[in-house]
Subunit: 349 residues, 2 copies
């Protein structure tokens, strides 16, 4: 990837508001790349509820192979109430994260100027959650016996490996070390989930030796929800398991203005496969097609995409344009398109 070769981007708009927000994300991406003359080639992948209804397919090997050949993926949202729960999540979204080894699920949380937090006294909120993306209770290891009978038993197995924990912990330390406060908080529940928890804990201690400039502390996941309510400023970088990260990043989004603003990156730091950039929000079928969706989370995800592909200045431009848009947003109601256009205009300015 680079200015001369151009970017091959897989676009998975998906379901509901996915199409609308991705359209704006792409417009902003074009605007950001224009000055450098970098060519953006997009390939759309028809994945999600519509495809599943039509063909019964979630993600074919063929599509997966094609996606693997791209430089990155921009994803809108996957899911619809008409599809049984778990089918698209496990068969498509999580399959992409696992197959492409997205072991760093990065979720920055920032309370921007102009954005109102539901917290009375939010203080400064500016932290990033490094959520593990390929292990934990998300591995799909488990099953059910005697389903539908009074003797049914269902299990879910959280799988954690030294290999998997160490690589994400090292990534989190690297990020913490590059930040001003250089502080890393491990969130887990090692007093109950003793085996997994102690592996995480020992790994953080061990990797800390390589990053003596980073200070660390620990919070049980239950206590972390308290801190996110009473003192979110205490967090700089959080590293945590797949499920705890899922839970905490929704809460983090809520305290910093809502999931309409929450960006995420599913990163393969070894670059053995394309990374994937997506808003934290879902497909919101209740407001789909009405121009009501806020594309900001997708646009901030585009900033993460640019950064990952080495376009640091372009990423900063998008980020600044969003920050300016938010600072002047006020109570004005704009459509999805208008927000996208306004931010793209600021990028171009």
């Amino acid at each position: 990837v680079g200015r001369t070769e151009g970017i091959d981007l897989a676009v998975v708009a998906g379901d509901g508001i996915g199409t609308e927000v991705v359209e704006q994300g792409l417009a902003v991406l074009e605007a950001a790349l224009a000055p450098s003359g970098t060519k953006l080639s997009t390939t759309e992948f028809d994945l999600g509820a519509r495809r599943w209804h039509a063909t019964g397919e979630t993600l074919t090997d063929e599509d997966l192979e094609k996606i693997k050949g791209q430089d990155a993926i921009l994803l809108g949202a996957i899911g619809d109430p008409s599809v049984p729960s778990g089918v698209l999540e496990r068969g498509l979204l999580l399959k992409l994260r696992f197959a492409l080894d997205h072991y760093v699920n990065l979720r920055p949380t920032k309370l921007y100027q102009g954005v109102t937090s539901p917290l009375a006294d939010p203080g400064e909120i500016d932290f990033v959650v490094v959520r593990e993306g390929t292990e934990g209770p998300y591995v799909g290891n488990g099953g059910a016996l005697r389903v539908g009978t009074p003797h049914e038993i269902a299990t879910e197995v959280s799988v954690n490996t030294a290999f998997g924990v160490e690589r994400v912990v090292r990534d989190a330390f690297t990020r913490a070390s590059a930040r001003e406060r250089k502080h890393l908080t491990l969130v887990h529940k090692h007093n109950v989930l003793v085996h997994a928890g102690h592996l995480w804990r020992r790994t953080v201690e061990a990797v800390n030796a390589e990053f003596p400039d980073v200070t660390t502390d620990y919070a049980h996941v239950d206590a972390a929800t308290i801190y996110l309510t009473t003192n979110p400023s205490r967090f700089d970088v959080i590293v945590t398991d797949n499920l705890f990260g899922d839970i905490l990043t929704d809460q983090a989004a809520a305290i910093s203005g809502g999931i309409g603003l929450a960006a995420s990156a599913n990163i393969n730091p070894d670059r053995t496969a394309p990374s994937m950039f997506e808003p934290v929000h879902g497909s919101a079928p209740d407001i789909a097609g009405q121009g009501k969706a806020d594309p900001t989370a997708t646009i901030l995800s585009v900033a993460l995409l640019l950064d990952h592909l080495g376009f640091a200045a372009e990423s900063a431009r998008v980020h600044d344009a969003v920050a300016e848009d938010l600072a002047t947003r006020g109570d004005a109601v704009r459509t999805t398109d208008q927000v996208g256009r306004d931010i793209a205009a600021r990028v171009t300015e």
Copy 2:
């Protein structure tokens, strides 16, 4: 148990501030029972960090048998940094919950008049979480291989049975049905934890047929943290798994004034063993022995204890006394003893 026979109470003050708050809880319990002439016989159990350091014991079979002979348990707090993580949690606190079949872990959340929420616009907060107490990821099923090597693998197995889920779901419906709004929300993550999640979901649907007056809805655990931030009034009764309940009830405590006020009851609804009443907070070793701990959570747990033992009027008196104390609390700083004395005085009035 009854007015004439009296109450045999096991007291496990435990560690840190546990001793201080339990003393006040007992004083209020005495005050509440005095008018009826009910005799309170307490048996103290020396359990927790001190006992473990002295003897290596967490909970002996002998102590457990003695506890089983009591009518109820009042517990302060268990845990100290000097004890390796998991030893007292698994060996004592969770062992009590599991051995005494406390399958309903009841955690009421109410924003009392006079209490400031960290939410800018909390609205009315008055819901109860029915957390499953004997299954899920808390069962201690799992393990680790090749510990300390690069090939370490650690698993944690969440075990869910039709038997276990159905009994707690039925209890939650019973509670919802007795409340004004008669609304039950299932919280899980059935789009990822499909086996366990679908068991919970089907069970809620099935038991709903027995309670046609109760309306139900569903929230993924990540979304639930958003609702607890932006619109906690939507909740009436929440039923959820052991781990999700642990996480959500700390957040619930945070939005309603902090864990200094959060009560809990570990209930065996079949009454085959004594139920256990404890504040949600921990042993807080940093403030132990200084008279700084707020005994309110313990006193509200005493109200739950009285109710469970059939002393409904006495329970209401304690509850009202706490509500009055909170309403007039203001910014005055009082010691643990003073708060206890003030509430006991209102109970006696």
